[in-house]
């Protein structure tokens, strides 16, 4: 019974064995369910990927969501976790081949959703950090923090498509996105230079601060770690300092 009902929801025939007050209205009544599933999943996807929707337009996004929901339906009722494969799906979806940056924008949006729901962690006491030996101290970063190396200028594209986004000159080439949830529960997206990106990567793998700074200076001659570190501290993103 449910297999036939499910097939009907996915666009198949109205399943046998259903009744309506008037037999000729059965299709219209069953369509309520078909529509509920398609529309509610489309809205769930749009909640997670608002910039993708803005970039492709509402009508196209609704159709896109139907195809995606058929290809990769949510496997759990926790819809905030749905869409991990959306970027990969977009990369292989011929109708959007002319927008090659879409998958990278989708990666940013999915990571923002994960950051929004990530575990809480209290910021480290700045005094503990000041007293630490840079050669030995390992900084723990907030559970919401994620870094993405992107082939396209997707951070700039994402920023321009925010409600208050400015029409600045569009970056070209690859960008590195840093996503974190700040103390006010906002989830900003920062664009990192090569040195900052190397610094974050090294810290995420557990390198002591001095070693991470050395790797950053290798990636970007003359790189100074302090500006990014203070920015992270201000955002509450440094949650531990362990010798």
């Amino acid at each position: 019974m449910m297999a036939a009902f499910h097939a009907g929801l996915r666009g198949g025939a109205v399943p046998p064995g259903l009744m309506a007050r008037h037999e000729d209205e059965l299709g219209r009544r069953f369509a309520i369910y078909r529509n509920n599933v398609a529309v509610s999943l489309g809205e769930a996807l749009a909640t997670r990927f608002p910039v993708i929707r803005r970039l492709v337009g509402e009508a196209f996004f609704a159709a896109l969501a139907r195809v995606y929901a058929e290809a990769e339906p949510p496997c759990s009722p926790v819809l905030a976790e749905w869409g991990e494969g959306f970027a990969g799906f977009l990369a292989g979806f011929p109708p959007v081949a002319e927008l090659p940056y879409l998958p990278d924008v989708a990666r940013i949006e999915y990571a923002r959703g994960q950051a929004f729901h990530a575990a809480d962690a209290a910021p480290v006491d700045p005094r503990a950090l000041a007293a630490a030996d840079p050669a030995r101290v390992r900084l723990r970063l907030h559970p919401s923090l994620r870094m993405l190396r992107l082939a396209h200028p997707a951070v700039s594209i994402w920023a321009r498509n925010q409600p208050d986004g400015a029409d600045g000159p569009l970056a070209t080439g690859p960008e590195v996105a840093l996503i974190l949830r700040d103390a006010g529960y906002d989830v900003p997206v920062w664009s990192l230079g090569a040195g900052d990106a190397a610094l974050i990567e090294a810290m995420l793998t557990g390198a002591p601060l001095a070693e991470a700074a050395a790797m950053a200076a290798t990636a970007e001659i003359g790189h100074a770690p302090t500006p990014l570190l203070s920015r992270l501290m201000q955002s509450g993103a440094v949650t531990g300092a362990e010798a």
């Binding site: 009902f5 259903l18 008037h22 369910y33 599933v37 496997c75 009722p77 809480d120």
Partner: protein, 286 residues
């Protein structure tokens, strides 16, 4: 136990307004599946709400009417949520929302889908309710669905089916009066007959919500939209239920086209007035 007073479905957009003036709303309900993340704003808000008001956790994804057993991993996550907030009530639906296919694994469909009412599905639902109550370590309230089609194979009337699930499993019932009105209108059932067939002493909570209507040649097709004010005939049925059963915890649901807080609070106040009258009526009857 929830208080026999009006409550509303909590929406993050109303958080600041609620903190400023809860306007007589006595409890809040959240959908479990919106709070299964680890942390962040959802839990900060829920902790603040649960610290001040009784909380009802309402599941929409356990698929109790599904052909497969309850998803143990999902049930475990709901259990951890209930352990974290110790809600006064947990409820779910007489419906299914997930379906396993051989090629795609389990797909979650994000809608409350109908099931036939037979001895076979009765046994299945009871088994699933047992699994949920055991897994959560608490009693469940099972909600009557809004439906748009019927199954030819159904042999048990909906209220009798719900009553029998409650009798066999010890669960309570969540009576959604709007769903009664929607289903009865859509299927040509008598809503008062439906309500008379339901043992009201098993009802632990009432839901009221708005519906949408579509005109078909045979008459209106009502859709449980949760996107409008509660309709007058639903208020009338609700007042009859309260007059008969006495005051019950009553939740106003408004999930789509969300109004400003005062509009939602006014709906809750309307339920509160009916609850107060019902209490007086019972007092006189004693």
């Amino acid at each position: 136990m929830l208080p026999a007073l009006p409550g509303v479905g909590f929406k993050p957009a109303h958080f600041a307004a609620i903190r400023q003036d809860p306007a007589g709303v006595a409890f809040f309900e959240v959908h479990a599946e919106n709070y299964l993340g680890a942390g962040g704003l959802p839990h900060a808000q829920l902790a603040a709400i649960a610290g001040e008001f009784p909380l009802s956790v309402h599941g929409v994804g356990l698929s109790i009417g599904g052909a497969r057993g309850i998803d143990a991993a999902h049930l475990n996550r709901v259990r951890r949520l209930c352990d974290r907030y110790a809600p006064a009530s947990f409820s779910e639906h007489l419906a299914w929302s997930s379906h396993g296919t051989e090629t795609m694994g389990t797909a979650y469909l994000n809608d409350l889908l109908p099931l036939p009412y037979t001895e076979e599905t009765l046994a299945l639902v009871c088994d699933h309710v047992d699994q949920v109550q055991e897994g959560l370590g608490r009693r469940l309230l099972l909600e009557n669905p809004a439906t748009y089609v019927q199954f030819a194979q159904s042999v048990i009337p909906e209220p009798a089916f719900l009553a029998e699930v409650a009798r066999r499993t010890g669960c309570g019932l969540l009576l959604d009066v709007n769903n009664v009105f929607v289903s009865c209108t859509n299927h040509g059932w008598d809503p008062r007959g439906w309500l008379n067939a339901l043992p009201l002493d098993l009802v632990g909570e009432i839901h009221l919500g708005g519906h949408a209507a579509e005109d078909l040649p045979s008459g209106p097709l009502l859709i449980d939209s949760h996107g409008a004010a509660v309709a007058d005939p639903v208020w009338a049925l609700y007042a009859e239920v309260i007059a008969q059963a006495g005051p019950l915890p009553t939740l106003v649901e408004w999930d789509n086209d969300l109004p400003d807080w005062p509009v939602l609070a006014a709906e809750a106040a309307r339920a509160g007035a009916i609850l107060a009258q019902g209490g007086m009526g019972l007092a006189r009857a004693c």
